[in-house]
Symmetry: D3
Subunit: 256 residues, 6 copies
Amino acid sequence: MNTWLQTKTWKEAKEAIEQSKGVAVLSIGSVEQHSYHLPVGTDSYVAIALAEEACQKTNALLVPPIWFGWSPHHMVLPGTITIKAETMIALTYDVIASLKHHGITKFVLINGHRIVNVIWMQLLGEKVQRELDVTVKIFDPAYMSKDIAASLGFGPVGHAEEAETSHMLYIHPELVHMELAKDNPIKEVPLYSVDPAYTHDTLCYVPSKYQSAEKNAKIAGGTTGEPTKASAEKGKIYHEHLMKHLITVIEELQGQ
Amino acid sequence: MNTWLQTKTWKEAKEAIEQSKGVAVLSIGSVEQHSYHLPVGTDSYVAIALAEEACQKTNALLVPPIWFGWSPHHMVLPGTITIKAETMIALTYDVIASLKHHGITKFVLINGHRIVNVIWMQLLGEKVQRELDVTVKIFDPAYMSKDIAASLGFGPVGHAEEAETSHMLYIHPELVHMELAKDNPIKEVPLYSVDPAYTHDTLCYVPSKYQSAEKNAKIAGGTTGEPTKASAEKGKIYHEHLMKHLITVIEELQGQ
Amino acid sequence: MNTWLQTKTWKEAKEAIEQSKGVAVLSIGSVEQHSYHLPVGTDSYVAIALAEEACQKTNALLVPPIWFGWSPHHMVLPGTITIKAETMIALTYDVIASLKHHGITKFVLINGHRIVNVIWMQLLGEKVQRELDVTVKIFDPAYMSKDIAASLGFGPVGHAEEAETSHMLYIHPELVHMELAKDNPIKEVPLYSVDPAYTHDTLCYVPSKYQSAEKNAKIAGGTTGEPTKASAEKGKIYHEHLMKHLITVIEELQGQ
Amino acid sequence: MNTWLQTKTWKEAKEAIEQSKGVAVLSIGSVEQHSYHLPVGTDSYVAIALAEEACQKTNALLVPPIWFGWSPHHMVLPGTITIKAETMIALTYDVIASLKHHGITKFVLINGHRIVNVIWMQLLGEKVQRELDVTVKIFDPAYMSKDIAASLGFGPVGHAEEAETSHMLYIHPELVHMELAKDNPIKEVPLYSVDPAYTHDTLCYVPSKYQSAEKNAKIAGGTTGEPTKASAEKGKIYHEHLMKHLITVIEELQGQ
Amino acid sequence: MNTWLQTKTWKEAKEAIEQSKGVAVLSIGSVEQHSYHLPVGTDSYVAIALAEEACQKTNALLVPPIWFGWSPHHMVLPGTITIKAETMIALTYDVIASLKHHGITKFVLINGHRIVNVIWMQLLGEKVQRELDVTVKIFDPAYMSKDIAASLGFGPVGHAEEAETSHMLYIHPELVHMELAKDNPIKEVPLYSVDPAYTHDTLCYVPSKYQSAEKNAKIAGGTTGEPTKASAEKGKIYHEHLMKHLITVIEELQGQ
Amino acid sequence: MNTWLQTKTWKEAKEAIEQSKGVAVLSIGSVEQHSYHLPVGTDSYVAIALAEEACQKTNALLVPPIWFGWSPHHMVLPGTITIKAETMIALTYDVIASLKHHGITKFVLINGHRIVNVIWMQLLGEKVQRELDVTVKIFDPAYMSKDIAASLGFGPVGHAEEAETSHMLYIHPELVHMELAKDNPIKEVPLYSVDPAYTHDTLCYVPSKYQSAEKNAKIAGGTTGEPTKASAEKGKIYHEHLMKHLITVIEELQGQ
């Protein structure tokens, strides 16, 4: 059974690298406010849970997690830690370059922090592909659950909403305080949406300014969406949907 | 009639800034291969045409164009010029900081280069919003034409495809060589699409590696999509759809 | 007839590169105050006019213009946009590196912004010559008109003065407001001159501090020199003098 | 009972920050070869174990761990991940700046990676103290166990030696493979030692060159020292010695 | 008698700063080949001699010398040390920022290395004037001796030529090997000269490429010009000419 | 007799490099307050004296001195100049890279500024060893005098204390003002010492915050230690102890 790299001696690590067929999985989330009912580590827990299970099933190399992400727009609420996009790129670059040195050439970045981390991951991806001659795939739950979200009755992607809450109820029920969840239903704003499944005309996402994040935090403690509709059952279906895709992505890379 | 900043004396510039109600429009494209039938400046021409008309109609400040963009994946074909994402951020930052000094506080970035420039523009947007206390909107034709694309019979967003070709046929027919257009229909790839209107599960975009771009260039000269279906009439409808939205965005900012 | 790269398809670009005998011409100016009578884009218009004509006559590659320059000392007047010297270096570096990739090895930088852009162009020139193994020539109208300036009755190089105004009257009369021109004759300052033709002892140029630029702007709207002495006839002679030299420089590079 | 920040909602985080009396504890280690018998995550496990226990006892804020460190000299063996010193500084800077924003002003960096991480931590410490007006203490087990090491019969500080192995036997026996431990006794080299307790003349530490690290790796799998002398009992005494000091350091900061 | 800052206690330094009337003098040269007859430190010796004497006569603060300069084009000959322009800027910036902290607000940079150091000094000058609100003057012997050079029978400014050699014969005769001096008379090249006193049309200076510097080194050991025409008498007149101007510049700053 | 590189022609430099057996010596100190009785250049004078004598005795290459160091914590007293650690790294990097180009592959950095410069020198050392394939040794008087300090009756390493003062009395008596020396005996602080010979548990060094440096400056003018116990005789013994080791280090490198 494959498990975290940090638990292995270098001989075990060597063997794990050989069995990985050249594929490593990085889990990257954030430490940022997730309203009244979810822990600040939610995005990281999501990425870690996906990475851990997928690596066990595929023997891809399970790299120590990067707990932090780029969260400038959530600094209005305590506990949020934001790492500059440039720093996230530099950090992940060094992790990838080190593993390349040991023979890993294909990387799946599991992003628990959605649209915000995706931005710097795209820059990073281009950079390492060009400079280190590796292959990078960005696996993001919000982009990978368009097909299932509607059928689960999830509204648009927001923050600490029904999808994230359901997922956490399934993978870490002990960290969810459903009794504190407060809804903040998403009203359609003309020409603007952050939901990757949105089918209408839209401007592109730019992280909110501090002032507007501040205003939003007061409405429902940081929620955008309807977490009270969440359930562990939906979370399980959602998780399995993602896992199926994740394994496909990893196995395809392993076959290259 | 409002026109380009570079043509004005500083007294005229002063007046133009006052009449702009604090809004400037930047047109940013790319110089990159656009297959056999479109000029390498296509993305810039698109951005410029939108900016020019919208500023005439709204009195927003029309800033000298930035002809270049981030195009690492198109360097396989001659004439492409790629500016590093970091450099594009630095350049646009300085333009915005200079105009902030003169009283402009709201910026619309018109991106003629779609999904690739959007990445660094998002980083830039966050940075200037936080550091310079300005407001930034990213206006991208591919994201702003989801509602109209299907009704025009356009296939998915690709490169030098029916949408881009139609638009150029409308705004710069003298630069389009329809007789050289060659189709390269988009085949659906499991778990992957660059079309912002795509409604199925997908990995996130990372610019192609050089090798795979090289392979693609040989198929149809750099086209992804079906340019032979393009027409100036469709281009006109497409352009007017975008213009309507662009004016709405500018006027909303002017009203803030 | 050779023309701008941005108008060409990549096949045309390929051909243009072949015909250029390895030489590309970049036009770089500024967007900065040019007193009451000249547009803020003056420096760029000057560079562009020289580049355009010279490329038509020599088949050197005509690269899309860089409208912006380094103008920290002119920010006191509205409409000025200043790009940091480091950013200008980075931007021009990427343009040169891209074209080197496609086979261009010799570059003429036409600087419409005189003594200020020359500084960063020298750093850039050394850098690309060393790192990319290309050859760079900096062509600056003020340095290239020493032999003709006196015979035209031009006073020392200043700002928006008789040389610049005459040149603009010849190349863009529609953008010159002679009726607003106001003289600010250049008084000799002991041990200091910015005129490259100055034959006496002098300290080296450092861009003015904001405060002193502010003071100067009040005297004659930003003019240093005597624009009222300008004429299109002088501008034509001045332009042809520069053009003759520019063609010589390009053809010499083409012959290497 | 205090626990990891990532498990808390922002309201709980807020409360934890208030109860911390302004002190946060960061655990920073490395992912690097630790010979045949210890896991590559050893340095991080050490830092984490100290941080976790100390925060429970003092209510200092327990920040998500940074698993990675600066390990250029251990890249010769598989599984090692090295992050550039500049990147480690940038990352830790952002963590500290974020927490400063929420009211934390005193930081204890627990360094499980000894003499190598200490270098960049010193640069970081000066930087954040000056720029962010916070207080930083670097707590390093090798520097904090000089008084106890000799009495436990430990030889000089090396790598994967008796101190580290004993400590791991106490805190993570399940990750130690004592049967694989191989000794590589430390021979005194004239004018050179990396042991902070060394009392003789010495040059200062510079991380080994790749070639010499390669040679060393072959001798005893990466060990420098005598791990076979390790025991969980010694590890317990060693750990409690460190814990006593760590609590003193934290409480002193809390009292300031 | 005023002397070097490094010899003073901080109380003496404090007094020296008070007596300087806010003016400090930095001497910056280079360590680069100066042909067969002059030491590699020539440029620094020149700057130091000027700085030392002028500070004694004006009480300006005499800052420890910066021996190194930017000399990429002289690396072909042994003993040359080149510091990147960016590094020279960073170093001099920190010196100026430190002295600003202690009350110095006006800086004379004496450049013994002529046209090459001038480039980065101009960038530096603008930067510190803007960011630190200080005043910077660049005093360069080649620019400050146009009025005297011809009357002394000096040819154009070159390298290790009659001006430099004469100056060294006056200030450091013990370091000059006249018996080894070899002439390499300067032939006029169309449209190109590095002499600031040159009155004809010219391209702007860019440091030579390595290959062309290599070729030049073989002709006369690195000389450009006619050092055999040098004499200590001419050196004395040249030095006194510079000194008179330097004192004027310093005293003017002291009076502001 | 070997002497400073700057005094040599390039032919002499060439010869000196050949005779150096590949070893160069850099002297790096600081310009910072050294209390009432020692000059601000003390650290540099110490490094220079050691370098000069050792190079005469071993023929190692004597590189022009770097007068400045990293001294953020001494800016409270006038005359101190602090160069950022990053800048010191960049500067020394370029010196080493230049000399590598001419055939020097081994470098001894003599650090007159103790524990503070050591930090950035370690980062630099790793960087140049890895990137330029050279060997670096950091020779620091405080680390190299542990064996002799006690026997000379010196107390712990502080600042401007008996060791430094004795050394200066021996090498530069004309710059020492013993009549102004004021003691500030070092009191042991629990869990903290900057003395590399300290044998008890300690936190690691971080340069003091400005405020605490300010407080310290008031006690005894910046002294930490007991300079009144200094003597030239002790300084001579101390110097010769260091010299013996320094020659050993250089000769060992020359033999490699």
